[in-house]
């Protein structure tokens, strides 16, 4: 038996270990229940939830790229009421903290979702997604300028007392500016990275493969970019950072924590192996034990902190 203390804190939330699911890659958790004992995860982060139902984008919605993929799902979801009536009661029965990813076209839509969820006991935290590259209005548009990001976070902060995580876009010149702006508006944590804007062109048809042209790049291909951004943001803010982007194993997760992440999330790797999350959680414990590290939090920022 290992004696590594795997607990981490994100805002008011205590997680039994640092490993969460990345929004949009794990459904509501229900889809993975045949493969993963959810109670062994730090938290389940749901797919994006909007106020009204959203239909998402036309097909094809994904295309594979070297060591990664582009997606253009477009945040298809049944809306917050259907979420509260369907997936949420199911999740409430599982022994795992639930973090709901919140999306909107306008600041008041984000706030409306947050307000609706504020009264739900089963929701432990909100992750405000100001970084989705796959919708025309809203999404990433909020995450790429400081005033817009601040505006959404202010609106949401005003209506919720739950732990508020803000998910940042990597498609910016200086991610630390945005991180500081949302911290100043009362965010309890930031998560990064969302997907990188990308494109694949079909050389037979001379047209982009995805109907919207662009899509979001994820998977192992983005990991070095994500680690660099976590490194920068963790040194720029004093709130916890949740790191993600291409994590496939415990070693990858450790890399993010050494860069300054207090917790990590596994996304695309769930498609490769649906048991990845649990494997990363167990592996991270072994990683610490093998090095005589007593608390997983000792890893956080160790790559740059002065001893």
């Amino acid at each position: 038996m290992s004696t590594v203390d795997m607990r981490v804190r994100v805002g008011a939330l205590e997680l039994r270990n640092p490993v969460m699911t990345a929004s949009g890659t794990f459904g509501s958790g229900r889809e993975y229940a045949d493969f993963v004992d959810l109670s062994r995860l730090g938290a389940v982060v749901t797919k994006g939830v909007s106020f009204e139902p959203w239909a998402g984008n036309p097909s094809p919605r994904i295309v594979e790229t070297p060591s990664g993929m582009l997606n253009s799902i477009g945040l298809q979801n049944p809306g917050v009421e259907a979420f509260c009536a369907g997936d949420l009661p199911w999740l409430a029965q599982r022994d795992v903290p639930v973090i709901v990813n919140v999306v909107g076209h306008r600041a008041d839509e984000y706030a409306a979702v947050a307000e609706r969820l504020d009264s739900e006991q089963a929701v432990h935290a909100l992750e405000v997604n100001i970084s989705c590259p796959n919708v025309d209005a809203g999404g990433m548009a909020f995450g790429t300028t400081c005033p817009a990001a601040a505006d959404v976070v202010r609106s949401v902060r005003a209506v919720t007392s739950k732990t508020l995580i803000v998910k940042l876009s990597p498609n910016v010149t200086d991610v630390t500016e945005i991180a500081r702006a949302v911290e100043a508006e009362g965010a309890d944590a930031v998560s990064l990275i969302n997907t990188l804007l990308g494109m694949v062109i079909d050389t037979r048809t001379f047209k982009p493969v995805l109907p919207r042209g662009v899509g979001g790049l994820s998977g192992p291909a983005v990991r070095p970019v994500a680690v660099r951004m976590v490194w920068q943001v963790a040194q720029a803010v004093s709130i916890p950072v949740i790191g993600m982007g291409g994590i496939t194993c415990a070693n990858d997760a450790a890399e993010f924590m050494l860069a300054g992440a207090s917790a990590v999330a596994v996304g695309t790797a769930n498609f490769i192996d649906p048991t990845t999350t649990v494997g990363v959680a167990e592996g991270l414990e072994r990683f610490c034990a093998a090095r005589g590290i007593g608390r997983v939090t000792d890893l956080v920022g160790a790559a740059w902190k002065k001893q």
């Binding site: 889809e31 493969f35 994904i62 594979e64 997606n71 799902i73 695309t268």
Partner: protein, 271 residues
């Protein structure tokens, strides 16, 4: 009437054989006792072909046949993944998630079935024809391919179907023309109780329209690019009269009458 859905699982599989069976098409046999024992006709597996390539996603393949703890897949080489699959040799280890999806349904009281397969659309028809024959249902198969050398699973179909008729684009076997000519004739001749279709999406749509015109229930097996394969990522949506459905869990087999063709962009080419 509904097929029971066994719980999917990850199963390590071992390659038993991998060989060309027609022009551009190979058959790989995998030792996969759990999946072979649980799979229903029309279901598929999500295959992780290689662990050390720069392509990361699994690839979905219909289970053509399942027996003696083994599953057979018929596949066409079209890209990175299927090229890697072609290189697999005996004793190579891969893994599958399966069995996945909702397969073909056999309505109560079915006596006569028409199976329409275009090209690789023959792949999900192997287990189906076996199941129908087992139940004493009279099966007519209408099969199409570009040429005689690309007609798949001839022996199996000839043995189990009461009639097997073919069409080729170049006339090298059977009718010179599209399989949809055969399906139209068959629907007019002895009216089947149900029609099963798989092949390129435009062809499936034509047969679905013929069936709607004839008032015969029709099931189609639709292909979409898939990420997770288990209902989580919404990569694989199909537009139906009841909203967006996921091909990986709600399909791949749909009642043709529910499908809103083309609305979601579909899959260019199909198989």
């Amino acid at each position: 009437m509904c097929t029971e859905v066994p719980t999917p699982a990850i199963e390590p599989v071992v390659v038993v054989s991998n060989e060309r069976v027609a022009e551009g098409v190979s058959r790989i046999v995998l030792d996969a006792p759990r999946t072979a024992g649980a799979v229903e006709p029309g279901q598929f597996v999500h295959l992780r072909i290689s662990r050390h390539a720069d392509f990361i996603l699994r690839r979905p393949f219909s289970v053509h046949r399942a027996r003696d703890g083994r599953i057979e897949i018929l596949y066409q080489v079209v890209g990175l993944g299927t090229r890697a699959l072609e290189d697999a040799v005996r004793d190579d280890v891969m893994d599958v998630i399966g069995p996945l999806g909702h397969g073909w349904r056999v309505p109560d009281g079915t006596k006569r079935a028409l199976v329409v397969a275009g090209g690789l659309g023959a792949a999900p028809m192997g287990m189906l024809v076996e199941r129908l024959a087992e139940r004493g249902i009279e099966v007519t198969l209408a099969q199409g391919a570009p040429s005689a050398g690309r007609l798949l699973a001839r022996e199996l179909f000839d043995n189990l179907c009461s009639r097997a008729i073919v069409a080729t684009d170049d006339g090298s076997a059977g009718l010179c023309g599209f399989v949809t000519v055969l399906s139209a004739e068959q629907l007019g001749r002895d009216r089947p109780d149900v029609v099963y279709v798989c092949g390129p999406e435009p062809m499936q749509r034509i047969v679905a329209d013929q069936c709607a015109g004839a008032g015969v229930p029709c099931q189609v097996s639709l292909e979409r690019l898939m990420g997770c394969g288990i209902g989580a990522c919404l990569s694989c949506v199909v537009t139906t009269r009841n909203g967006l459905k996921r091909a990986c869990v709600d399909g791949p087999v749909f009642d043709a009458a529910d499908v809103v063709w083309d609305a979601d962009g579909g899959q260019e080419g199909g198989r």
